[in-house]
Amino acid sequence: MYRYDEFDHTLVNERVHQFRDQVERRLSGELTEDQFKPLRLMNGLYLQLHAYMLRVAVPYGTLSSTQMRKLAYVARRYDKGYGHFTTRQNIQFNWPKLEETPDILADLAEVEMHAIQTSGNCIRNTTSDQFAGAAADEIEDPRVYCEIIRQWSTLHPEFTFLPRKFKIAVTGADHDRAAVRVHDIGLQMCRNEAGEVGFEVVVGGGLGRTPVIGQTIREFLPKQHLLSYLEAILRVYNQLGRRDNLYKARIKILVRSEGIESFRNLVEEEWSHIKESALQLPLDEIARIENYFSPPRYERLDDTVRELEVKRFEDRDFASWVRTNVSTHKQPGYAVATISLKPTGKPPGDASAWQMDAVADLAESYSHSEIRVTHEQNLVLAHVKKADLYALWSGLRDVELATPNAGLLSDMIACPGLDYCNLANARSIPVAQRISERFSDLERQHDIGGLKIKISGCINACGHHHVGHIGLLGVDKKGEEFYQITLGGSADENTAIGKIVGPAFSYDDVVDAVEDIVDTYLEYRSDGEEFSDTFRRVGLAPFKEKLYAAH
């Protein structure tokens, strides 16, 4: 993975000093809260319902064991012993003290981490495929370009006060695990007719109040023009994006009002002026960054591993975990292991300090000291020898991280919701907990098959409800929590926005409603169909009938 050189170290350390000074100016009264708020947000420090919240960047979701241990240390030393992994592949600490945040950032800087641009109307953490570098269907490791974008976007002087926040996602694989079509810019690596590798550039996607699927602005962008093209898009957006209405300020609204053709012309015109500028990426710079992401030294192994097969036969729990949480690796004899942060009845995405330490140790023993954070709020060890899977699983089981539910119904996304968040209308976490308890029978979950439930506590859609097979959106009805249900969304390469099924359900009734939806699906599904297939075939009607006849 990427390692800082002297320039990166200097910048992050200077940023810590700068923030320390800003905090001191606030505490001394030199800065008012109105002046300080945007400054703290630029460094990921929010004020939530009960406390400050510090969002630490995990660039494109990749962490070393050393970094994970430091996160565990921060959780213990400055917080209440846990952290929350987010859909943006970042981690949030829910209880830091204002005057201690500069110390937290100084500690994080020691391990090449920071909270730069984890909030504010700027370019946020670039996200990627959690299987990057290990996926069999990958053209190239997308993290090389994520790192290039990370550097270019860090403290970008022109794009620090955009109309609204700006999210970029990159994937190198055919199967889209990074939801690139629902980002402000999505980059899908592809080959042109000459066989050269570049990017399909998608723009104007997003969730939030107005979910929009991004449109292709350029079929093929050569690698060396990546930054100039991004700069052209951002420059057009910075000048023309709406600033009069918070809810219409994202680039998706601009793209829609201009029309993709017209927007493309504006970008291409801008690009023509800067294409050959200092933004052009030298091939040796790409190669330099690529070096950091070169694959680990794989052993030459047989893909069929006898010990594994024996253990699967002997231990049903292990077999069950392998079935859901282990994915194919491009290298024979290796596998990708997903560590579920969704134990039954627990807050999705939370990990306690001792669990973080344990994962750091296990990654060190079995996966080249590297950990991924997924946008579905799980962790991944990307390069595990199949022969080590049983030992890994045993280690995970010891720290209650071996829940065999990756991709199943209880592997839900949920935002922090009204239990923590200042913007939320309704709670998300307890709804997720109650659903996972209702479906705690894993056999039943296996029978239901792959199903994505996504829960947001408000219209800002941090829980990605629009693209859940079943999406739940918390709304406030006269001071009470209600949940609007959408069906048929999808975040992968077949991106779809879910359709609202009907009137919202109360906090008490929403779990029954989810169960009714699942039952209806089981009733209607044909052999081999997943939820989306059945939904596309039968439409909303049978679900509506079941839900509103029964309630």
């Binding site: 050189d5 320039f7 990166d8 200097t10 910048l11 200077e14 940023r15 000093h17 700068q18 000074d21 800003q22 002046q35 945007p38 400054l39 109307n121 550097q151 270019w152 860090t154 403290l155 970008h156 002087p157 022109e158 794009f159 620090t160 006060f161 955009l162 109309p163 420059r235 910075n238 000048q239 600033r243 002026h273 800067i274 500028s277 200092a278 933004l279 030298p282 040796d284 710079e285 330099r288």
Partner: protein, 165 residues
């Protein structure tokens, strides 16, 4: 309003005129509207002239006239209205404007560095304390990852020039 140039408080020889103000002797800064409606009269005065653009007025509107101006003032109605950062880049990079690019409006020390990197070289600030903070504000972060309109060399260029390890 105190004016910072080259890092210190400077005498401001320019008078900013509102549209209803009478023309005065000496260097003046006028609005885009006034420039467009009184262009010939303003040019015939033969005194230095500047123009002030609101945050929804791109310098592209003046592309053909830019060599007539010694100052282009770009407004920040709020510090977080970032359009003028792009306008400054266009003035410097696209139009090769060599005159003064002045930040006016809600201009705060925490943004000095960003503004300077985008090509601003004059800053109207609310009070003189901001000038005292100048040096620290622009030197707090010494590393830059992007090419800008200033003289700083991005990390990429510095990395390529260092002796091989």
């Amino acid at each position: 309003m105190p004016l910072i140039k080259e890092g210190v408080l400077a005498e401001d020889s320019w008078q900013a005129l509102a549209d209803e103000d009478e023309l005065v002797e000496g260097p003046i800064v006028v609005t885009l509207d006034r420039w467009q409606s009184e262009r010939e009269a303003l040019l015939s005065r033969n005194t230095p002239i500047g123009v002030r653009l609101k945050s929804d007025q791109t310098p592209a509107l003046l592309a053909d006239d830019l060599d007539r101006f010694a100052v282009v003032a770009l407004e920040f109605p709020k510090f977080n209205d970032g359009r003028a950062y792009s306008y400054a880049r266009l003035l410097r990079d696209r139009y090769a404007f060599k005159g003064e690019v002045r930040a006016v409006g809600n201009v705060l020390r925490d943004q000095f560095l960003l503004m300077q990197r985008c090509g601003f070289d004059a800053f109207e600030v609310a009070n003189e304390a901001a000038a005292a903070a100048w040096e620290k504000a622009i030197s707090e972060i010494s590393v830059t990852y992007q090419p800008g309109a200033d003289a700083r060399r991005p990390a990429l260029a510095l990395r390529r020039n260092r002796p091989a390890a």
